[in-house]
Symmetry: C2
Subunit: 924 residues, 2 copies
């Protein structure tokens, strides 16, 4: 027996199910599912994706018997709807739509009103008593069908690049012009009848074929048009970007049409089962009486509020569905509850009321803002609609990030009209002064001004300006243009292809729809939507600690997470902030920042220019009281939790004065000649400071630095221990590449510890000694190092720089383009390069634990706050991730999701595959 090619749904019964998405496509499976659970759905049937595959494998032939299956299914549809396809009295109209396994919005073809012919028109007019509606539908069918089926699907190359659709539009425009009409709705029945006649002639002339007057021919034309569009240019390009294989194919959904524009008892609407902006559990949506679905979203008519509660200033005067059609509203509200209960998620639904009867056209998981996602997840968990694990998987780290980062205030944004629209190439909001050149951008940014770089298009020469800009706006270019590639690489707000801009570089101004904007004037971009606004729109960040749902949600996360989340903090204030966000320790305290205060930098500089070991030690020791009090502060703020303190890391020349005036001051202070200071600065100059005298190399060449820092840490520990404050300092040796470097520094620590214990009369003084793993050689020899070190912390910033061989400071000249070209799928400084650098991490963990099974291992590079990287950290078995205080909530979520996703018996992981760095865009 040949496989089943057609799946019917309708009248409460369906042959398909939600979990048959691969076979029926997302839309078809969903329509079947809705039908099954008793939701009123216009009957229809789905032709499987396998037919599509067969079609392309067999020279665009259909499987044998498909026509029979379609005919049988159509008969069931007719029965369910009480109408007949092609019937003269009671004709059924149908839609023919695509439906792939994964949504490809707008990329494939749709044909509506199929079944309208010269023979069925009179019957439909008689039945609806609405000749205008019928003729308009016929006109629409002709325009759509001739374009989609007769021209595009047939592969006819339009003459002079002027397709049939354009020619029909011209005919209609001409008529409107002659009659002085503005809107399509001004056209009368007679106008439409006339147009349909003209259209027929034109189609015959241009395409050499009659517009088919046979419903069955129209149906098959529609089906083949959908299948053809699977291999259309747009669809293919989209699949390349989204990594959708060609082999998946699309299904075809043939469904009875219902009309919301059949008079005052008809209506149409779109709704969310909860508020998608706030998450509030209240029915939220819009509708219109006597209208078609597209009218609600097109913005021509102001849509009405679905119920009284959600009425706004704009639609206060219009009736709500709740008031206008209370019975139907009640039915709809019942469906809302049923759908949420069934899908266990907020649904985005479309409905149509045709002459008093409610039909559901669509349901799908609704898109939502970050705050809404969080609230819904927590609410549904409280309602016991979903398990905590599901709630955790329901909020993406990006959504949580929305709670923490600037975006154009959505409430305020509604009050403004964009001056122009372009392609949303880089996310978030940005506001600043217009500049038209990269150099100017850099110049103004250096003066502390926020700028938006506006260019016709960008090139590698503009990188420095793009880098400092709050946002980037280009007149030309698409989603794969230089600007888009770079901005996506950086995650920077960006709009491209904004054709309304007319830029005059020489005059430092641009004209947008006739209005002039000069350099220095302020604009705001919503890069997530592609909207450009005049002036400074407010950007918002909501204080996450004030969000009542966040604590509940993150506590649930902590329960399932295997990875602990620590923080990178250099001050007691940062430490306290991170603790408030739920950090369970400090993974990285940088000590170098402590040296820059004016009262300290002097001693530091004195140390650097010292000529002998003795004077150097004397200078260094002046820093001891400062460092000690710093450490007392931070250890106290984190009492009860571990605090990982990294010894001095950056090259010494960073501490030296750069300006001649400062040099002279220092020379005077130290009582040496200016030449001497200049000589020392010159001597400390390095060609590649990242690979020079820094990290533990400093502490080995100048052991007195290590001695001072360790003494400061341990004396701080001793002081607090004597006060009965529980403190856990962990001393971290930076930039170790060779176990012998570590041993050298560790020996200093052990010696000082002995001294301090004796001096303070303390028997048990807590401390551990561990190391950063940030040099590739350290990962390669982690087995040796772990024999000596009590903990590892992966410094994946440096590990990436050295592993990939590009410095973060300098990679700006090529890395954004690399990301754009897909050489690196994502910026490896943002998301850990699992293929390459990840091997070093995995090797470090495996070798380290081979030597010391209970080795504590964390990560303190910026990847510690990146969800994909956190998933990797979970998989390789790290104990904790450490990130900046504001990333702590995101890391807690990501850690929990990683645990759920990678659990052996986890439902969620089937739904959401392991995140894999995927190409955001690719050239050719």
């Amino acid at each position: 027996m040949s496989p089943k090619n057609v799946y019917f749904f309708g009248a409460g019964k369906a042959e398909g199910r939600t979990d048959m998405k691969n076979l029926l496509g997302g839309k078809g499976a969903n329509l079947a599912e809705m039908t099954s659970i008793g939701i009123p759905v216009p009957a229809g049937f789905t032709i499987t994706t396998e037919v599509c595959t067969y079609y392309y494998k067999n020279k665009k032939k259909y499987p044998q018997g498909l026509d029979k299956e379609v005919a049988q299914a159509m008969a069931k549809v007719e029965k369910a709807m009480g109408m007949k396809f092609g019937d003269l009295k009671n004709p059924l109209l149908i839609s023919v739509r695509s439906g792939a396994r994964k949504s490809m919005p707008g990329m494939m073809e749709t044909v509506l009103n199929v079944g309208l012919t010269t023979k069925t028109i009179p019957g439909l007019i008689a039945k609806t008593n609405n000749p205008r509606f019928v003729w308009d539908a016929y006109r629409r069918l002709m325009m759509m069908y001739s374009d989609v089926v007769m021209e595009k699907a047939a592969g006819i190359e339009p003459k002079d690049d002027k397709g049939i659709r354009v020619q029909l539009d011209e005919i209609m425009d001409r008529l409107k012009h002659e009659k002085g009409y503005k809107l399509d709705t001004d056209l009368t029945v007679e106008d439409l009848q006339y147009l349909c006649g003209e259209f027929k002639k034109c189609i015959k002339d241009v395409l050499g074929k009659e517009f088919p007057d046979d419903p069955i021919a129209q149906l098959w034309g529609g089906i083949s048009a959908v299948f053809q569009s699977w291999m259309g240019k747009r669809a293919c390009a989209y699949r390349r970007i989204e990594n959708i294989p060609d082999e998946w194919g699309t299904a075809v959904n043939v469904q009875a049409m219902v009309f919301g524009n059949m008079g005052e008892s008809s209506a149409t609407g779109v709704a969310f089962t909860r508020n998608p902006a706030t998450g509030e559990n209240w029915f939220y949506g819009e509708w219109l009486i006597n209208a078609q679905g597209e009218d609600v979203v097109a913005g021509i008519r102001t849509p009405y509020a679905l119920n009284e509660r959600i009425k706004s200033d704009q639609n206060m005067q219009y009736p709500s569905l709740e008031k206008a059609m209370p019975k139907l509203y009640k039915e709809l509200d019942g469906i809302r509850k049923k759908l949420e209960k069934h899908y266990k998620n907020m649904q985005d639904i479309e409905f149509t009321i045709q002459e008093g009867r409610l039909w559901m056209l669509q349901t799908r998981d609704g898109k939502r803002t970050g705050p809404a996602a969080l609230k819904m997840a927590v609410d549904m968990m409280k309602e016991k609609l979903i398990e905590p694990a599901t709630a955790i998987m329901r909020v993406t780290p990006l959504q949580l990030d929305e709670l923490l980062h600037p975006m154009v205030d959505p409430v305020e944004e509604k009050k403004y009209t964009p001056i122009a629209k372009g392609l949303p190439a880089g996310p978030g909001g940005g506001t600043g002064k217009i500049v038209f050149s990269a150099d100017r951008a850099e110049e103004m940014a250096k003066n502390g001004e926020k700028v938006v770089l506006v260019r016709n298009e960008t090139s590698p020469e503009d990188i420095h300006g793009m880098h400092v800009a709050e946002a980037i706006l280009t007149a030309k270019g698409g989603m794969t243009s230089h600007a888009a590639l770079v901005a996506r690489g950086w995650g920077k707000c960006c709009i491209v292809g904004c054709g309304a801009l007319n830029i005059d570089y020489a005059g430092r101004k641009m004209t947008v729809h006739g209005k002039v904007y000069k350099e220095g004037e302020i604009i705001t971009l919503n890069g997530s939507k592609g909207c450009v606004y005049e002036g400074a729109l407010p950007l918002v960040v909501i204080d996450p600690t004030k969000n009542p749902e966040l604590k509940i949600f993150l506590d649930a996360c902590d329960k399932v997470a295997k990875l602990k989340v620590w923080t990178n903090a250099d001050t007691p204030k940062d430490a306290a902030q991170a603790r408030a966000f739920g950090a369970k320790g400090i993974g990285l305290t940088r000590t170098e920042h402590m040296f820059f205060a004016p009262d300290r930098i002097k001693a530091m500089r004195e140390m650097i220019v010292a000529e002998t070991k003795e004077t150097r030690r004397a200078a260094v020791m002046k820093l001891l009281p400062f460092q000690k009090s710093d450490f007392i502060g931070i250890l106290e703020a984190m009492q009860g939790l571990p605090v990982t303190i990294r010894l001095l890391d950056p090259p010494l020349h960073e501490f030296l004065p750069q300006e001649p005036k400062q040099v002279a001051e220092l020379a005077a202070d130290l009582g040496v000649t200016v030449e001497k200071i200049e000589g020392r600065i010159k001597q400390l100059h390095e060609l590649n400071p990242m690979l020079g005298l820094r990290g533990c190399r400093l502490g080995i060449i100048y052991p007195e630095i290590t001695e001072m820092q360790v003494r400061a840490i341990l004396e701080a520990g001793a002081v607090l221990t004597k006060k009965k404050v529980k403190v856990f300092p962990e001393i971290m040796i930076p930039l170790v590449g060779n176990v012998k470097e570590f041993i050298h520094q560790k020996n200093i620590v052990l010696q000082i510890a002995q001294d301090v214990k004796k001096e303070y009369g303390i028997k048990n003084l807590y401390f551990t000694v561990g190391t950063m793993i940030e040099v590739p050689r350290a990962a390669l020899t982690a087995d040796e190092i772990a024999k000596e070190a009590q903990f590892f912390s992966f410094g994946t910033n440096d590990l990436t720089q050295m592993g990939c061989g590009f410095s973060r400071d300098d990679a700006g000249s090529f890395l954004p383009e690399y990301v754009g070209m897909g050489i690196y799928a994502v910026d490896p400084f943002e998301t850990l390069d699992q293929t390459g650098v990840g091997q070093l991490v995995a090797m470090g963990v495996q070798k380290g634990r081979a030597s010391r099974p209970d080795l504590k291992i964390g990560i303190c590079g910026e990847h510690g706050g990146n969800p994909d990287s956190i998933d990797f950290c979970h998989r390789v078995g790290l104990n904790y991730v450490s990130c900046s205080p504001f990333r702590v909530p995101i890391a807690r979520l990501a850690a929990a999701q990683a645990a759920l996703r990678n659990a052996d018996s986890c439902k969620s992981c089937k739904a959401s595959p392991k995140p894999k760095a995927k190409a955001k865009a690719k050239k050719k």
Copy 2:
């Protein structure tokens, strides 16, 4: 039965053998072996190293029965020598010497003349008729024995740091002063008798013990002194440096003494079986009539030539042994032949003639110069004395290097007297102007002057001056001082602890033995010997291609080597030179040097400042004819052999002018503003250029550069191919870290190749496309890269820089000290860091071949010419090493030795263990 503790040798029979070195020590095993093969050796016995081990494991007790074994062996010695130990008439005197498994010259104790007592003195006088000889021997015994046995071995702490030896010396000096003597030999019999009496009193006074007058007591005192000295300070320190385990222990050799100073029929000498300086196969040595061994080497008397042929100006007037004692010379010459035949190597021998009878005291493999080592190896191979494999292992790469690098001309050096001597801390010769500060050194070096840095001692602040100096000389410090550590780390000529120097920094001068040397005066250092000379001694390098043995030797090497040796060459001249040295291909042609010629740099700069792709391409294409002709030259020079050409690698700013004048010129040339050029220079500035926009990143961001270079290569190939010249260009993409980078560049190559073939009408145009593996990530993902690349070449310079995280340019501030401290055993830029970076290489090979089993893999970093690294390359299975032309001979030898050393059934490998980077020096 307890193990045998004592091994007798004498009268043609021996219980030991050469291969019992571990048990008998080197010296004992050798004496036994010589005895066995019929060489006349004074009889004796060896107490095993196991006794030493037992001694230290058992609270310095000897194994039971040792005394009995010693007594039995002594009886055999007496019998063999026809004398009796302690006998009143015919007393036997013996020596007690150490003898470890591995030679530890001067590190342990020796006691001579054991057996002389008040009772045996008269008998010996009667027998020798030489009372002065006997009393002098007694005096020597007392001085040596009281010091070594009675004080040092007994662990007596000398008062006021003034040991017994010093006090006895003072007594003797006092007497000499009183009598107005200059030399010890001026002392009369009476003087000596008097001294012996004074010595006895002094010993009793100072050490509280009588000097033993019993031969057996003296014997056991000597034995225990030798065992004690195994754990002496000097010996322990030496073992730390040489990695000799304490557990090995030393043997004790007790041997009958023979005397060359018993009158005119006695003599003593040292000889080499061939000339150790030239390798000439002629008996070479020196002797003295009526003398002791030390007289020959002490330099007080001019030694005589062994035979007529080797007489020199210095000893022309003295008799040769050949003439003076023809029978004994003939016997000695016979022994010479016998020893060479037996040991199959040039021997360094010591002999003594006692009253007309010849005794051999020592034979060992003789040290030799590089040229001699080569000549002997080749000669012995020709003589069929040794196999080619043995010949190959007989010459160290360092010896071969002597043929290629400057050293103080050994012939000339003999004509000069050192003005001072110090410790030989860094090898080779160096000559230059004296400077007393690092800054001055740098300054003068910048002016092209050669300098020798002279300091009391050095510190890290002096590094820049040490770096530029030809040689380093310090007044203070030992073999582990800063200067010594740094110089050894760099392999730079250096002498430390040269106490004769009296430096006046302020006056910029030094006084040496009263003579003043000012800054700017020239001195020469022989760092291999520790000698400082006034003036410029000639440094010599012998042209290796003119050495007749070299070709034979290297051809033999090539026959066993598995690794091919290629070269790094950028010009046809270098290529020809390397071919003359036997290079079998070019592993690295850097193309960037070709851009610096004045007529080319302009186009290069034009390219760099170009604003658009079109102008950039136009500028780049101006370079095409230049590059093409370069490639024609080099490909032609290497016809028949592969030529690996690396595409542009360094950052672009290296090509830009630095001086304002040059900038102005460039601006004028290009017709743009100075500001524009300055802006571009600023834009190209990178913080860490090594990790910036370079390598294939350039070719990806500016593909026109790759297009031009590839076109130049392939057009050059096409031109030559049409001329029927066989050329094999291999195109190498630098700095690939990600396979997608490689694919991008490879696609350009393939496209250009198609075009060129078409344009030149050539069907088969040879080329391959491969990559450098120099970024750690490339090694980690070598499996992916090998799917696309036809060859790999490890760029271990960059791989080391990135793998270890230090740049070669900047590591000078710590790496020499690291090497000194033993953090890295050797400079990892000189010898590949096998533990760390080596893992990346091994991984790259294994992963690469997993994807492409026939992948051709080489190395083109400077490690390609380093013997230890070459051994590693052999072991990981590389196909070739590529090094600078002058290193090619060394690499060919190292490749052959690697093959022999690592062959499963190789005799040589037993003798010479795998070279392991060993600590040259270590701080505790």
